[in-house]
């Protein structure tokens, strides 16, 4: 079975091993260590790590399409944010009449902009199962429609990148509008509880952190399963020689569509887990800048390796946390420099440095082929 194949694979076993080890260690240190001990992991740190893991999952999703399909999506933030909003809407509905106005149905921002009744697209989000389905469906459908149009008319390479950017930009503008009924710039916030667990308790935080870890594990295995399957090789074929693949009888656009949709859904899940941990979702997650940044995490980690994406995401964001603390001005220089150096001098990323001999077959091929996009 394609999903179990990766589990027999050394690299995947290694990755899962490290991941779960980390999860367990953090949990142990958080629960068992006394507050004042140096080894104690505060719930603040736990949430922080949880956030990193969300980013990591998003990065894996991006790597799946960029690394193996050659589609550089500058709009994955959109899928991430959609997943986030789906979760956010559920959390808003959970507040119920505990909002400041005590309105049983309407979220606060609707009350003071005196909306009369709940917009239709908010219906159903009071039910967890519905919300969680939407977490997958909303980004999935967007990816399906967008991808269907784009791939059918063979929009690829640079053009695709640019219109994915346009897509997320348009969505950002749209969600900024208060008429949209998603809270405009203030977004959705002040969440109370998730599935009955109070979001303010450390236990819930730990739970979310673990859930994210597991989600990352599953996401990784799914992606790995795809890329190690024959379909994965077909994707690489599409990436490197689209026309040839067609003449072999493969429907390139469908392969692209399938992988793109899967990736979008993973991004959605990442977003959904992100929101309850950071406690807010607002349109700035749609900003093209964010989406591009994600791509750089992948580039830094090493594209077409999946675990590289994870490494990149965690490294960059850790750097961000540290730098913005000690030298805020330097941060953008650092990030910008990273973009340049990685792309120019480190095309295979960190993973490329670590495991050069491994999985040569996944590496991007000669630039020439990508250029003809």
């Amino acid at each position: 079975m394609w999903l179990t194949r990766p589990l027999r694979e050394r690299s995947t076993q290694l990755f899962l091993g490290v991941l779960f080890a980390a999860l367990i260690v953090v949990t142990a240190l958080h629960l068992l260590m006394p507050q004042d001990s140096a080894l104690y992991v505060s719930s603040y740190t736990v949430t922080l790590l949880g956030k990193y893991l969300c980013y990591a999952l998003l990065a894996v999703a991006v790597d799946l399409v960029w690394g193996y399909l050659g589609i550089l999506s500058l709009g994955h933030g959109a899928f991430f944010a959609l997943g986030g909003y789906a979760m956010g809407m559920y959390l808003m509905r959970q507040i119920g009449d505990r909002g400041v106005y005590g309105d049983p149905l309407l979220p606060d921002f609707m009350v003071f902009l005196n909306w009369q009744e709940l917009p239709w697209y908010w219906l159903g989000f009071d039910m967890a199962w519905f919300a969680f389905i939407m977490v997958l469906l909303a980004p999935g459908l967007l990816a399906l429609v967008f991808g269907f149009l784009a791939f059918r008319s063979r929009v690829t390479g640079v053009y695709l990148s640019i219109i994915t950017q346009a897509l997320t930009f348009a969505l950002m503008l749209a969600f900024f509008r208060n008429e949209m009924g998603f809270g405009g710039n203030n977004g959705l916030t002040d969440f109370k509880d998730l599935l009955g667990f109070d979001l303010r308790t450390d236990a819930t935080r730990l739970g979310l952190f673990l859930a994210t870890g597991i989600a990352l594990a599953i996401g990784y295995v799914v992606c790995r399963g795809i890329v190690t399957s024959k379909l994965g090789r077909v994707s690489v074929a599409c990436r490197d020689a689209e026309a040839r693949t067609r003449f072999l009888g493969y429907r390139v656009e469908r392969v692209q569509l399938f992988v793109f949709v899967v990736s979008a859904m993973l991004a959605g899940v990442a977003g959904a887990l992100y929101v309850p941990q950071v406690g807010i979702i607002n349109p700035s997650e749609f900003s093209p800048l964010f989406s591009i940044e994600v791509v750089v995490w992948v580039a830094l980690g090493g594209r077409a390796t999946l675990y590289g994406a994870v490494i990149g995401a965690i490294l960059v964001n850790y750097g961000k946390t540290v730098f913005t603390g000690i030298m805020p001005d330097a941060w953008l220089f650092a990030l910008g420099g990273l973009f340049v150096l990685v792309t120019v001098f480190l095309p295979k990323g960190i993973a490329g440095l670590l495991f050069t001999r491994k999985k040569t077959k996944d590496e991007p091929t000669t630039p020439a082929q990508e250029a003809t996009a």
Partner: protein, 432 residues
């Protein structure tokens, strides 16, 4: 000159209170500063960080408070809203600060709010905002709508005789709410619906041609027309440029802005704007010694002759002094003690009056209307006879007209519904 007297009083009071303090050196009081130093908001917020650092420095020179020094803890939320929550948590949980001064945008405040409440911190929020909020842990030293928008409209209506209104704003919660309030208010005052034009634009909107020409047409209906602008930051420059070029000068259609202060003007060629209005609770040009001293101190601190002061800076000045007073009153920096002590504390503001912390955690402020001058300053043309108390819940919004906020025992509720006599929302959760 009763104002002068007030100031003298206030200053002497301040001096007095500062002068005696026990010399026993304990560990310092940690003051968290939560302002973006990078990203889009850095423009506005970094100056507030410096203001705080200056105030703390001065306070320490004066011997700190209760014999304890103040220690600033600066973090950078980088104009990223989730990061605001994260950094707030860091300040409270890791750094264990006694108080936080910070935030500018509503969204950042909203994202910090749950954290501050959960970890029972203190937050002083220095920017004018949309109201509709009152938290046990937050002190709003900026203007609520009734301390800026409503008086400004009154001025236009009564002194300028405006009959036709354009409410133009950037599309986010502050303008939305303010305009909702103003709309209701104007209608209550008998303004016909078709004498009100409401327009929203995205952040950083730069192409104002069509909108300005609409305003022009709207203003040509034979009634005196004014624009009430809640347009945010960057969008203002092209907006005023377009006004100037399309020949709308303050004499025909005055624009009164709530988000354009000295700092914003420093980036605009003010020539064509002379005479347009802004409503604030403080202007750098206010002719008052306390203000001049503050300006001198600021210029000295920044080492920049051109450095300007603005309303949020005054808000921090007031907030900071209130905190100091409250700590003295409580005799400790313990959060709950300070929370109780600070209500009723009043300190001199920079416009020659006093600011008092009300039970709803908003403060009393004078409202000034200023006209833009060619030197990037405002000249005050009108001010409220007395200070106005901030109103957390607007009387002009259906959702909140019955709500009041009073953080004193026994009521101790941020949104008490006077009709149903219940305390809704948050505190109910707290009760659970």
């Amino acid at each position: 000159m009763s104002i002068k007297k007030h100031v003298k009083l206030g200053l002497s009071a301040l001096a007095l209170s500062i002068s005696f303090n026990s010399v026993a050196a304990e560990d310092p009081i940690k003051v968290g500063i939560l302002h973006s130093l990078s990203g889009t908001m850095a423009i506005s917020e970094s100056t507030l960080k410096d203001t705080m650092l200056m105030l703390i420095e001065k306070q320490n020179e004066a011997g700190g408070v209760l014999g304890r020094q103040l220690e600033p803890v600066v973090v950078d939320p980088a104009s990223n809203w989730p990061l605001f929550a994260e950094k707030a948590r860091e300040l409270l949980a890791k750094e264990e600060v006694d108080v936080i001064f910070g935030n500018w945008t509503s969204v950042s405040r909203k994202s910090v709010l749950p954290v501050v409440e959960e970890l029972n911190g203190l937050l002083f929020y220095p920017v004018q905002y949309e109201g509709e909020e009152s938290s046990e842990n937050v002190f709003y030293t900026g203007a609520a709508p009734n301390q800026q928008a409503i008086p400004a409209v009154d001025y236009l209506m009564n002194d300028i005789g405006v009959e036709r209104w354009v409410l133009a704003g950037t599309d986010y919660v502050y303008p939305r709410t303010t305009n909702k309030i103003l709309e209701t208010y104007l209608k209550d005052k008998g303004v016909a619906a078709d004498d009100i034009m409401i327009n929203y634009t995205p952040f950083g909107h730069s192409n104002w041609q069509a909108i300005v020409s609409d305003i022009k047409t709207f203003g040509n209906a034979g009634k005196k027309t004014a624009v009430v602008s809640t347009i945010n930051g960057d969008a203002n420059v092209p907006f005023y440029r377009e006004l100037g070029n399309q020949g709308i000068d303050a004499a025909d259609i005055p624009v009164v802005a709530f988000s354009v202060g000295e700092q914003e003007l420093s980036g605009i060629d003010t020539g064509p704007l002379v005479g347009h209005l802004a409503a604030w609770n403080y202007f750098m040009s206010v002719d008052n010694d306390a203000n001049y001293d503050f300006i001198d101190a600021w210029v000295e601190y920044t080492g920049n002759e051109e450095a300007v002061t603005n309303d949020p800076m005054e808000a921090h000045y007031i907030g900071f002094n209130m905190y100091i007073e409250a700590v003295k009153k409580a005799g400790t920096a313990d959060v709950d003690a300070v929370k109780d002590a600070i209500i009723g504390v009043s300190v001199p503001n920079l416009t020659g009056g006093y600011a008092t912390m009300m039970p709803n955690h908003h403060i009393t402020k004078p409202v000034l209307i200023g006209e833009i001058q060619d030197n990037g300053q405002f000249s005050v043309v009108w001010e409220t006879p007395s200070t106005v108390a901030g109103d957390a819940w607007s009387d002009f919004l259906p959702g909140s007209k019955d709500l009041i906020s009073d953080w004193r025992k026994p009521l101790f509720c941020g949104n008490f519904n006077v009709v149903s006599g219940t305390c809704g929302g948050k505190s109910e959760v707290a009760a659970e």
